[in-house]
């Protein structure tokens, strides 16, 4: 099971999907493209727990975090 976590004003929304389910993986990839296309940054973590920004859908990532575009405050 993998998870896509999308930060939003409700805290975050989690989308869990089965990595062995081709249909679920396709949906997850589409969600990835839609979010990054809308300006979200996608990040995963390495085995050493370091965050890594990813620009393409990684089907092996257990957890992908999306946060909105950063702007000057």
């Amino acid at each position: 099971m993998a998870t896509q976590i999308v930060m939003d004003r409700n805290g975050d929304t989690r989308h869990n999907f089965d990595v062995t389910d081709a249909k679920a993986m396709l949906k997850a990839e589409r969600r990835f493209k839609a979010l990054t296309g809308a300006g979200f940054t996608a990040a995963t973590r390495t085995a050493g727990e370091e965050p890594v920004v990813t620009r393409t859908f990684d089907p092996t990532a257990e957890e992908t975090l999306f946060f909105p575009r950063l702007v000057g405050g």
């Binding site: 805290g11 940054t41 702007v71």
Partner: protein, 135 residues
Amino acid sequence: MFVTLLHVADDQLRRLLAACSRWARAFRDWYQRPSTVEFRGRKLLREWLSAEQLAQYDAHDYFEVTGCHTGKRYRISHAGGANVYELDDAGRPHAGWCFVPNDHLVAGDVMLAQKIALETDERSALAVANNFMPR
């Protein structure tokens, strides 16, 4: 007779005040409770912090990160904005940087986005940031 009535009224007034005081305390506790959204934001942040950062956050309500391009140290304080401080060699804040996600997010989510940005794409984060003098 009049004195008895006064005693009864006094007793009832005291009970009413005590009840009001209890209601006021209950309302204050309800109003000041951490919201579910804030709780989830903190939980997510804690999951993504390194062990060292988590210990620092628990102790001080801030944690430090290293910029991936310059190697500079930054302190991210618990807040939803104007909360990133560049540290000098002595570990003192000498410049403030303000950059936030362009949606209304709780502090934990803002801090996590700032951490990831500085650790993975420091220059882009600072390019959009406004700077300020730390107090």
